[in-house]
């Protein structure tokens, strides 16, 4: 049993018939994910990759019992797709779409408030329970089952960290990409809560970056949590030029708390172990696990 996705996940893909949707749905099916439905308005009644297509999320849920959705819908319609899934009371929505307008995400967050849905993303590589279930577009070949939870704002850096963990002999319980946008769904804190409560996770690796204050909120949560687990943290962007947007829409230093040094200090003060460099996350985690075992 995992925290967001597992063998009981019945996945619906919104925007499955587009090229990105087709390519990644096929990858997820190959990985072993149970894809039970696709939604593309106007294509209901057809099938694609041997998966039935529906016109609406509500209809797909009624017919197939889908309990998670992956959103591959282009940016101009992505917010509408997320809101449709929220209104259909989908328990988990993973939005992969990049470049969703920020005001659209404010509407999505308003729909999310008080709903039954957990939203991951947008601009997320997705959620992976190694060997069990892939919901998203991430590289999967280095990941294997274990007890390290990984939560991050960045896709390729997560692949790098997973590769380091695996090389250090540490498998992963689940990896979650919360996305690189300033306004998004689940936060670091939301994911830490789930990992701290998960009996299969021993250590959490948190990968942060410049922009916003989510790392500080994570630090506050770690400090106050009753049943906490060890956290290894990496924050990148120490040497990013100020006031320039560094790739991710959310990676922008506007003022002091958004810079890397402030975030590292907050996480260290809260008891997290700071990886001294991006290439040392695997060994830092291995040393921490070894100290705990001793």
């Amino acid at each position: 049993m995992s925290i967001l996705v597992d063998q009981n996940t019945r996945l619906l893909c919104q925007g499955m018939t587009g090229w990105a949707g087709t390519y990644h749905t096929n990858r997820m099916i190959q990985y072993g994910t149970k894809v039970v439905a696709g939604v593309t308005p106007g294509k209901g009644g057809k099938s694609h990759l041997d998966v039935p297509i529906f016109d609406s999320v509500a209809e797909a849920v009624r017919t197939t019992g889908a309990n998670a959705s992956a959103v591959f819908v282009p940016p101009d319609r992505a917010a509408g797709a997320m809101i449709e899934a929220i209104e259909a009371e989908m328990p988990l929505v993973v939005a992969v779409t990049e470049r969703v307008p920020v005001l659209d995400m404010i509407r999505v967050r308003e729909a999310l408030a008080g709903s039954r849905t957990r939203l991951v993303g947008p601009n997320s590589q997705g959620v992976l329970a190694p060997g069990v279930c892939q919901v998203g577009v991430m590289a999967t070949d280095r990941a294997y089952r274990g007890t390290i939870g990984v939560v991050s704002r960045s896709a390729s850096l997560t692949s790098e960290v997973i590769s380091q963990l695996t090389a250090a002999g540490l498998g992963q319980s689940e990896t979650i990409g919360i996305g690189g946008d300033p306004v998004h769904g689940m936060s670091f804190v939301d994911c830490l809560k789930l990992f701290f409560a998960d009996p299969h996770t021993e250590v959490v690796v948190l990968i942060g970056e410049i922009g916003g204050t989510e790392e500080q909120q994570a630090a506050d949560y770690i400090r106050g949590a009753d049943a906490k687990k060890p956290v290894v943290a990496l924050v990148v962007g120490k040497h990013a030029p100020p006031r320039r947007r560094m790739g991710h829409a959310g990676a922008l230093v506007q003022d002091a708390p958004a810079d890397a040094a402030s975030k590292i200090a907050a996480l260290r003060d809260a008891g997290a172990v700071i990886a001294p460099s991006p290439h040392l996350v695997g060994v830092t985690t291995r040393d921490l696990v070894a100290r705990r075992a001793a």
Partner: protein, 390 residues
């Protein structure tokens, strides 16, 4: 996308937000004529570039006569202006805004932006008191007041009135400030802005609110809703290099060092900069190849790195993902090198999806390259080459 000050003021004027009388000039003679037409002195001659912090970089000059305005314009036009917010190469000033100086009894800082943690639109304001028209500078505002405005409208005018009441303004000025904030909020939503900043916002002796400066950034991700604004972006564009990269699905930021970075993903890109600095080197650029870039796009990105005369070595740090395998990136690298004479050394760390195929492709291109097994070794090797130690 940040638009020029003159365009920001024009767009905000449609929402009844006033700014000083001003005329755009592209030559010193036009600036002189503009100052004459504006009449009253002093006037300010303001470089129009798509980046902030112009004041401390000498991009805003006071002139006490039309002749002085001409001199000021000559000093700015056609020259590159480097501010703390431009790339190290700066931006060329193509036009200046000649604007009448406005005397104010009080000045405010006022901004509309997004508060990520609450996912709401946020109003920020500060009372900067009385500032002389000549002493006006980009000084840090103290005592910032914040208000979160929910778009669904369960909060509204009452809350804005309470907000304006925090500044001990005369009743009529507080009321008109509230109206201004509501218009600014509407402008923010209609323009899909990421930031509107008015600094300073002057309260004149006549009791009017006037935007002395205006910064407007439109959400790049919402440009599909605003085809009419695309031209303003081209005008202000920041930087030919960064704009060109954007067109090819690459986020690129020019920096002052000598190690060119070719990296996929924003997080890995930032990590690469940090490692270069930790190893004692200096990055020539930040690069984030988006997953939507094809090999020809990537070749364009590599060209930008090779075009930079400061670059001494190219560091490729790639983790091939589900959408963008390693061989696509090596293909782009090879295409870029095949077309040029300048053969800068390449240090590679390539891993992930299709890495073996990428090595086969690399062998065919016959590049002056060294491959390293992990990213730290690649970084230290690139630093050694840049410093003439390898």
């Amino acid at each position: 996308m940040q638009v020029l000050e003159c365009d920001a003021k024009k767009l905000l004027s449609r929402h009844a937000i006033a700014s000083p009388p001003g005329i755009v000039a592209a030559t010193p003679e036009e600036a002189e004529a503009a100052a004459t037409r504006l009449g009253r002195e002093p006037v300010f001659v303001k470089a129009q570039i798509g980046a902030g912090d112009r004041m401390s970089a000498g991009g805003i000059r006071a002139a006490h006569s039309a002749a002085e305005a001409k001199v000021a314009a000559r000093a700015l036009l056609g020259r590159k202006l480097v501010t703390s917010q431009t790339s190290p190469d700066g931006l060329v000033v193509d036009k200046v805004l000649v604007e009448r100086g406005i005397a104010a009894k009080r000045e405010f800082y006022l901004a509309v932006s997004i508060d990520p943690s609450s996912a709401t639109v946020m109003i920020t304001a500060a009372d900067n008191g009385e500032v002389g028209v000549e002493q006006r500078a980009a000084k840090q505002s103290a005592g910032l007041e914040r208000l979160l405005v929910h778009t669904k409208g369960e909060r509204g005018p009452g809350e804005i009135a309470e907000f304006c009441g925090r500044f001990s303004l005369p009743a009529d000025a507080a009321e008109s400030l509230g109206e201004l904030i509501m218009r600014l909020h509407r402008a923010f939503i209609e323009l899909d802005a990421g930031l509107i900043e008015i600094n300073p916002l002057a309260l004149t002796d006549a009791g009017e609110w006037v935007a002395i400066d205006a910064k407007l950034a439109i959400d790049d991700n919402a440009m599909f809703r605003h085809p009419d604004l695309a031209e303003l972006g081209r005008d202000a564009e920041t930087d030919y290099v960064e704009l060109h990269a954007q067109r090819h699905q690459i986020n690129f930021v020019q920096m002052a060092g000598d190690i060119g970075a070719v990296v996929n993903g924003a997080g890995l890109g930032l990590a690469t900069l940090d490692m270069i600095r930790a190893a004692g080197g200096t990055p020539a650029n930040f690069m984030d190849i988006r997953t939507t870039a094809r090999s020809l796009d990537i070749a364009q990105g590599v060209n930008l790195v090779l075009d930079n005369p400061r670059t001494k070595v190219v560091l490729v740090n790639v983790f091939g993902g589900g959408m963008q395998p390693c061989d696509t990136i090596i293909e782009g690298l090879g295409i870029a090198y095949r077309r040029r004479r300048r053969m800068l050394p390449v240090v590679l760390r390539v891993t992930g999806n299709n890495e073996d195929l990428a090595r086969l492709r690399l062998a065919n291109f016959n590049l002056p390259s060294t491959e390293c097994p992990d990213m730290w070794q690649a970084v230290t090797r690139a630093v050694a080459i840049a410093q003439g130690r390898a």
